[in-house]
Structure formats: structure tokens, C-alpha cells
């Protein structure tokens, strides 16, 4: 392998991860607007069982096999949530917490058992806990990028309807929009993004890539279209810089770095975001009190 090959591979992986970051931000903004911010968390923790299960069943550990397992497990986790909601009086928050804890425990039990069951090491599966982009091949990165582009296309197609459902559910259902179909598409997209983000960010933190960018973008704009794009850009920047830092600091896993970059972008937005940021609010507060001073002045003199 020559340097040319290596840098080209790194570049392709960076492009793939950038696409995943952008798509996560885009899909996440729908999810946060619909107030389902943590819908992906149960799916994310469940993916681990799928990854380990796919390896145990097929004996293969190429990315496609493992991610197919992850998608199946993510859907199963969401399905269990729906079942618990239908069949028991356990509330949603407790049901989500149970799915998160129990499915992650099952995944940990499967992965930890691999060495004792005759597999060498844990077959590299523990990289799905916290993300490890160094192991990605060019082929994998292209695959992730294509799925990410597909997810962005779906969001573009349903953006208007999803916005309507998010802001006025009763109007949407009264005018005949199938609210549950749109919700199902949004949740399905989140499940897909969680799985696609798995190699780069890992099961424990991949929710953050869906939640933090839109919440940060919310501080910059009040328009849904702008929100989606800004959120995507924040996701992209976080993903790429996290991957770049972990490439230079190989003992750090990728996921925490990606998430920490996103948190820093959020913190910056919180301070200087023009819509709801701390500075903008102070300014608005000053302007308001100025205006109030002008209006109140004559009355004050009269009294």
C-alpha cells in the first residue's frame, strides 16, 4: 500500500462520515421538532444485540451483515416499545429505559461471551460500542454515504408534511394526512441513521448525533428549512472533526470526540446564536426595556 492509497482511503472515509453527520443532523431536526428526541436511543442501544447476533448467526463480520443485524434489532427494540405501550400500563419513559438497559445488557453479554465461546477476541465487535472509524474500508464508507444520501432525499420529500404534523397534529389529521405513516417514516429514518452512525459514533452515543445538531441549530433560526440545513452542517462539522482528532489520537474512540465536538458547537450556539442565544436574549431584553422607557416616559412625567 502506498501513501497515495492511504490518503485516498482516509479521504473517502472522511467523505462517508461527513455524509452520515449531515444526514443525522437533517433527520434529527424532524425528530426533535416532533418531540421524539430520545426515540432513537432505545433503537441505538438495541443495535448492539443485532450486531453480535448477526455475527453469531452468519459467522461473517463484514459491515453489511452486521448493519443488517443492527437494523433488525433496532426495529425489534422499537417494536417492543409499541407492544409495551399497547399491552401494559407501564409509562413510555419507563418502557424506553427498560429497552435501553436490557437490550444493551443483552448485547454486552453476547459480545463479552465471544472469547469464551471460541471466537478470537471479541471479533472486533466492541468497536461498535464507542465507534472506531479507523477500521472502515473505502467500500464501507461509500455504502454509509449512499444510505445517508437516501435518508436526506426522503427527508426532502416529506419535509412539508412532517413539518405540518410536528406543529399542528390535529390540523394534519383533520385534513386527512396519515399522521401515523409520517411518524413511522420519521422514526424509521431515525432507526436507519442510528445504524448508519454506529461504525463512527458507537451505540452508546449515536443518539447524540441525532439530538445535539438540531437543538444547536434551533438557536440560530426559526425557519424549518434553515433549521434542517444548519442542523445538517453542524452534524457534518462535528463528525468530520471528531474523526480527524481521533485519527491523530489513536487511543481515543471516535464517538466521544464526535459528540464532544457537537457539544462545543452547541455551547457556542447557546452563547452567540442570533435567535435564542444568551447574547441575543440580553440584547432583546435591553431593546425591550429601552422601548418601555420611551413609552412610559410621558406617563411618568404626568404622574
Amino acid at each position: 500500500m502506498t501513501w497515495g492509497d492511504l490518503s485516498h482511503n482516509t479521504l473517502v472515509v472522511a467523505v462517508g462520515v461527513a455524509a452520515v453527520g449531515f444526514a443525522s443532523g437533517v433527520v434529527g431536526s424532524l425528530c426533535v421538532l416532533r418531540k421524539r428526541a430520545l426515540a432513537g436511543d432505545a433503537a441505538a442501544h438495541a443495535t448492539l444485540v443485532g450486531v453480535a447476533g448477526a455475527f453469531l448467526v452468519t459467522g461473517r463480520r463484514d459491515l453489511v451483515t452486521l448493519l443488517v443485524g443492527a437494523v433488525v434489532a433496532a426495529c425489534a427494540g422499537l417494536g417492543v416499545l409499541v407492544l409495551v405501550r399497547r399491552l401494559t400500563r407501564t409509562r413510555d419513559d419507563a418502557a424506553t429505559a427498560i429497552v435501553i438497559g436490557v437490550s444493551f445488557g443483552a448485547g454486552i453479554a453476547l459480545i463479552s461471551g465471544l472469547p469464551a465461546w471460541g471466537y478470537p477476541g471479541s471479533a472486533g465487535l466492541e468497536q461498535f460500542l464507542l465507534g472506531h472509524t479507523a477500521a472502515l474500508t473505502r467500500h464501507d464508507a461509500m455504502l454509509l454515504a449512499m444510505i445517508a444520501v437516501g435518508a436526506i432525499a426522503v427527508v426532502a420529500a416529506i419535509l412539508k408534511e412532517a413539518t405540518l404534523v410536528a406543529f399542528d397534529e390535529s390540523f394534519a389529521s383533520a385534513t386527512g394526512w396519515p399522521v401515523w405513516v409520517i411518524d413511522a417514516i420519521v422514526v424509521g429514518l431515525v432507526a436507519v441513521m442510528v445504524v448508519v452512525g454506529l461504525p463512527a459514533v458507537g451505540a452508546v452515543l449515536v443518539t447524540a448525533l441525532v439530538v445535539i445538531p438540531p437543538v444547536a441549530a434551533r438557536l440560530w433560526t426559526d425557519r424549518v428549512g434553515t433549521l434542517v440545513v444548519v442542523s445538517g452542517v453542524i452534524g457534518l462539522v462535528a463528525a468530520v472533526s471528531g474523526v480527524a482528532v481521533s485519527a491523530s489520537q489513536s487511543r481515543l474512540a471516535t464517538g466521544p470526540l464526535v459528540v464532544l465536538t457537537a457539544s462545543m458547537l452547541f455551547a457556542v450556539s447557546l452563547v452567540i446564536g442570533p435567535r435564542r442565544g444568551v447574547v441575543a436574549r440580553r440584547l432583546a431584553g435591553l431593546q425591550r426595556s429601552d422601548r418601555r422607557g420611551l413609552v412610559d416616559e410621558p406617563g411618568g412625567h404626568d404622574a
Binding site: A94, I100, G105, A109, V204, R218
Partner: protein
């Protein structure tokens, strides 16, 4: 390979003691988590338990880097501070972004956890904290770190867990009435002068303490299973808070012991298997719960539809008698024959020349069903402005659910009217 491990451990004289200590440790931390989790679940704060489980990590790592040792006071302090910071930051983010609480919490706890993970990466070797331990704990290694207590080498983790359990039980017992009041009527509690904010802060601190006690055994992510799964299972099995707390602790202890044994048999992560066993416990509770478990719901639904079929047969026979006052038997459709046979064996209807006829007992019951039906039609027609051709379907459904007391009230509301809107007589109460 497994048999070699088994043979080696079985020949080790410390084998049973080590496993007993590990199981005892799992039991005490699971009991603490079950107790705290009960309050989290009834106060709909389960996801906050998850958030705190993640967010205590930077507090623990900073405390360890500052020279604290696992289970030491510095680590507990760091974790409690991190938990309170999480909640404070969540409020700030929520107010600033104008977003739902889960989005704000999602930002804060993932950020803090990521910060903790990066800090772990910088921990010098020999500080006994690494990524694997953070993610799933190392229950099997805990019994080797012991302190002598009255001449016995007690594992440090068990000692810390037992002290935490004792402290939590005492604080929950002494504040029990306030906890119940705050959980079920926070507004009323506030008006009555209960320091609701303080109680909530205490619960958050207790969650952080239970998390730290479990941290070395279960890691940051699996603790949420120990907090929520036993409490949610207990909630399905009982409707009294004190029984729920007790059951949650017992289920936690059972899950801790069984999970440890299962992990030992399968040669895998103890914390992972404990979470799985707790999930199985919840699933079993959801299926067998008295009252509204899956089985009882199915049984209840089946009994209701059986009763509806039986009452429909009785009412149909009664209406047929009303229309043509001939003593002959009536036909019952094939799908309803099992119900008809049961009605016959219980003496409500009898077989007459190829058909069925009401017995005097069946006639009384049928009269009440028809009476319910027609009273409801009459009442709807009078008070609800429902067109006359829309009266039948609701009455057809309600007739199975009106008791004699309800019929009496409807009758009293009807000025002794004796006919329904279709002009048919409302039979008297039998």
C-alpha cells in the same frame, strides 16, 4: 475452554466464597437501585435515571484523577455534583432553546458522558478505570479488593453497597409520607408546605449515589436496567407504593443473583446477564400480572364476549316471544350454539321441538337486558338529541354494562314512561 475454567475454579478453595461475595454485592446494589427506581418510575423520571447514569461519569473520572478511590467519599461527591449539574444544565438548555425536556436532557447527558469518556482516555494507567469498566463494569473482579471487617475479608464493593443500601432505606423510610405525597400530588404537596424541590433534589442525589455504588459492578449504561426494570415490574404487580418498593428490591436481588449465576454458566459479562434477567422478570410480570397483565386482559376480554353472546341469545329469545306469543322453540344460529348449550345446562333456556325457549329464570335475566336496552334508547332520545334511527347501536352496546342501580336512575329520570322511542314497552325490573 469453559470446562477447563470450571475445573480450575471448582478446585480453587476460594471458589464458593468468591462467587458468594460477588452475588451478595450484586444483590445489595440491585436492592438500592430497586428502591430508588421505584420513586423514579412513579414520578415518571425513569429517563432521568438513564441520564444520571451516563452523566455521573465525568464526576467519577475527575474524582478518580484527583486521587479518589473507587467507592470512596470523593467519588460519591463527584457523582452527586455531576448529577445536579446535569439537571441544572438541562434546565438552562431547555429555557434557552425553548425545547422539550427530553431534547435538552439528550444534549446534556450525552455531552457529559462523551466528556467523561475522553477524560477516561487520558487517565494514567493504574487508576482502575477504563472504557470497558465504564460500559459494563467488572463484577467478577470486585471480590478480590477486600477490607478486613471483624476478622473477615469483606469485598470493598459489598461494604460500600451495603452502607449505601442502609442509608437509602433509612432516608426513604424517614421521608416516606413526603415521598408518597410528592409522587402522587406534587401540586397539593407544594400547597401543603412540603419542600417538593428539596425532595426532588434528594431523589436525584439518591439516584447518583445508587449509580456510583453500582458503577464498578455494572457500568454507566446498565445501571438504568437495575433502576427501572424491577420497579416497572413491581408496579405491574401491585398498586400500593410500599409493596411496590419492597417487590422492586426483591426482584432486583433475585435478578442480581440469577443474572450472576447465568453469566457464570455462560461465561460472559455478569452485568449484561443481570440486565437480561431483569428484562425477563419484567416480561413475566407484564404477562402474569393480576388485574391487567396480558393473560388477565385476554381472560377478561374472553369472559366479556362470552357474556355478551349469552345475553344476546337471551334478549333475542325474549324479543321473539314478545313479537309472537307462541310457546314454540326458536332457532339459534350455529355460531352461538356453544353459548346456547351453556345457557341450557345452567337452566336459563330449554330445548323445545328442535328450537330453544326461555326458562323462567332466563326470562328474568332477558327482561333486564331488554330493559337496559330500551331505557337507554329512551334516555338518549330524550336527552341527547340523537335521531331515532341512531338509537339502536349505542343501546346494543350499553345493554351489557348497565346494572340495576343504573337502570333505576334512568327510570327515575324518565317520569315513569313505559315505552321506548320506537313505541315498544319497556319491561319492568325483574
Amino acid at each position: 475452554m469453559m470446562s477447563i475454567v470450571l475445573a480450575e475454579t471448582a478446585s480453587d478453595p476460594g471458589f464458593s466464597a468468591i462467587h458468594a461475595w460477588a452475588m451478595a454485592t450484586a444483590a445489595v446494589i440491585a436492592a438500592s437501585c430497586g428502591l430508588v427506581g421505584t420513586l423514579l418510575v412513579v414520578r415518571r423520571m425513569s429517563l432521568l435515571g438513564d441520564a444520571i447514569g451516563h452523566a455521573v461519569l465525568p464526576g467519577i473520572v475527575v474524582a478518580v484523577l484527583a486521587g479518589g478511590r473507587a467507592g470512596g467519599p470523593l467519588v460519591f461527591l463527584g457523582a452527586v455534583v455531576a448529577a445536579l449539574v446535569t439537571v441544572g444544565l438541562t434546565r438552562v438548555v431547555r429555557a434557552a432553546g425553548g425545547l422539550a425536556e427530553d431534547a435538552a436532557a439528550g444534549v446534556v447527558f450525552t455531552s457529559l458522558f462523551a466528556l467523561g469518556m475522553v477524560l477516561v482516555g487520558f487517565a494514567p494507567p493504574g487508576t482502575h478505570i477504563d472504557a470497558a469498566c465504564v460500559l459494563h463494569g467488572e463484577l467478577a473482579f470486585l471480590p478480590f479488593d477486600t477490607v478486613p471487617v471483624a476478622g473477615v475479608d469483606v469485598p470493598r464493593a459489598f461494604l460500600v453497597g451495603a452502607i449505601v443500601l442502609l442509608g437509602l432505606v433509612v432516608s426513604v423510610l424517614t421521608t416516606w409520607k413526603l415521598q408518597v405525597f410528592t409522587a402522587f400530588d406534587p401540586a397539593g404537596a407544594r400547597v401543603a408546605g412540603v419542600p417538593v424541590g428539596l425532595i426532588t433534589m434528594g431523589l436525584l442525589a439518591a439516584t447518583a449515589v445508587a449509580t456510583v455504588a453500582s458503577f464498578d459492578a455494572a457500568g454507566a449504561v446498565l445501571v438504568v436496567a437495575m433502576l427501572v426494570a424491577p420497579a416497572a415490574a413491581a408496579e405491574l404487580l401491585t398498586r400500593r407504593l410500599h409493596w411496590m418498593a419492597l417487590l422492586a428490591m426483591l426482584l432486583g436481588v433475585a435478578g442480581g443473583c440469577l443474572g450472576y449465576l447465568a453469566a457464570w454458566r455462560c461465561n460472559t459479562s455478569a452485568a449484561g446477564m443481570i440486565a437480561v434477567v431483569l428484562g425477563v422478570e419484567y416480561a413475566v410480570a407484564a404477562v402474569i400480572a393480576p388485574g391487567d397483565g396480558v393473560i388477565m386482559r385476554l381472560v377478561g376480554r374472553a369472559r366479556l364476549s362470552w357474556r355478551v353472546v349469552c345475553e344476546d341469545i337471551l334478549a333475542a329469545l325474549w324479543r321473539a316471544e314478545e313479537a309472537v306469543a307462541a310457546p314454540g322453540g326458536r332457532h339459534v344460529s350455529a355460531g352461538r350454539l356453544p353459548a346456547a348449550w351453556w345457557l341450557a345446562t345452567s337452566g336459563r333456556i330449554e330445548r323445545v321441538d328442535g328450537g330453544w325457549r326461555l326458562s323462567s329464570r332466563g326470562r328474568r335475566e332477558a327482561e333486564n337486558v331488554v330493559r337496559s336496552h330500551r331505557l337507554w334508547e329512551a334516555w338518549l332520545g330524550r336527552h341527547a338529541d340523537v335521531p331515532i334511527d341512531h338509537l339502536h347501536p349505542p343501546a346494543e352496546w350499553v345493554e351489557h354494562h348497565l346494572g340495576s342501580a343504573m337502570r333505576e336512575r334512568l327510570q327515575a329520570d324518565m317520569d315513569a314512561r313505559t315505552a321506548d322511542p320506537h313505541g315498544r314497552e319497556i319491561p319492568p325490573e325483574a
